[in-house]
Symmetry: C2
Subunit: 210 residues, 2 copies
């Protein structure tokens, strides 16, 4: 029994702590500006532990992107009560309301890890670009299932496709994050998401019902 070690049952593995620290720091500072030493310090582990679990900083980025997908699936598509709303259009609008509600506090707490990382890596690291793409596309494809159900039930204007609208939702959110960061305010970012909600209601001819 060692005093400075927690029991194996209660100890959070270094790997998970490193990924959590990466999520936090990269969202605040960007991928390149965040050093391995900084991530280790934030995670409370040493550099030796870092390179025991990850072959490189790039490998951590890819693993953190994968974890980000799982986190989004849980926090957005599984845990919230509104995911059990039966009507698919009401569920879709609740989804947008939820994303609007998430835009609160500091940008590093509501912005997207992979959206930030891909900006710096799309041309220089195919590993990070495709890992980010996988995360964003997984979100969109999951969202498209709900949109498709709403289309099947209510129809949609102009033959808009579910997956195309899902990517548009993602684009508005990513864009709103940039506006929030630049403005150092949330007003314009939130209003942009409200524009998105109005657009979706119009597509489904639901403009009258607030």
């Amino acid at each position: 029994m060692s005093a400075n070690r927690l029991s194996s049952a209660k100890r959070i593995p270094a790997r998970a702590k490193l990924i959590d620290a990466a999520h936090l720091l990269v969202r605040r500072q960007g991928y390149c500006a965040t050093s391995v030493d900084e991530i280790c310090a934030a995670a409370g582990v040493t550099k030796g532990a870092f390179f025991h679990h990850f072959a490189s900083k790039e490998a951590l980025g890819a693993a953190a992107a994968e974890q980000w997908t799982a986190r989004a699936e849980e926090l957005i598509f599984t845990l919230p009560p509104w995911v059990r709303i039966e009507d698919p259009l009401e569920r879709l609008l609740a989804h947008i309301d939820f994303r609007l509600f998430m835009i609160d506090g500091a940008p590093e707490d509501f912005t997207c890890f992979v959206g930030t990382m891909v900006q710096e890596s799309f041309a220089s690291s195919e590993v990070l670009r495709s890992a980010s793409d996988a995360s964003i596309s997984a979100y969109c494809e999951r969202l498209a299932v709900d949109i498709e159900a709403a289309i099947a039930l209510y129809g949609i204007r102009d033959g808009v496709s579910a997956i195309s609208l899902a990517y548009h939702v993602q684009a508005v959110l990513q864009g709103a994050f940039i506006i929030a960061k630049a403005r150092n305010a949330l007003k314009e970012a939130r209003e942009s998401v409200l524009h998105l909600k109005r657009y979706i209601k119009m597509l489904f001819n639901r403009v009258d019902t607030q």
Copy 2:
């Protein structure tokens, strides 16, 4: 008379070459990943010249943001023929078409310098954050003038404000850039701008006229 120097009339000053190189490299790699040495090499000047014109890398970033605003004003709001379309709504829709048309080739050629830079600097450099904000907001305020004219002439649904819609346009574009970078394809990014165009037409009750 020196052979390896151009005459003063034809020589592009080092300052302008450094800003151009920064625009190119930062859009491709990000702000942090682009080193001062790299910018100097791309501009064809030495490090001494760099620090003669700019007090720091941060100062170059701020100057490049200011230049980006002037560049956008010229390339988007002055030079194109469609800016002289009289009807403000037609002009607005032509603006969206133009932005859609710009999404072509490599992301580093159509994406936004300040949008990329602000992601990495919003929390760590107030200088770069406010410089980026100034550039984005200048674009939005300029665009809002045209939107306001369209509203005055045709009215708009739900009392949508011109400046709010302008920021939404900007958000969709910034988001589309991220999608394009992540996907390594232009389809989803372009479709997102088409969703934006459809939304604007709906707001102005112009859904029937293609």
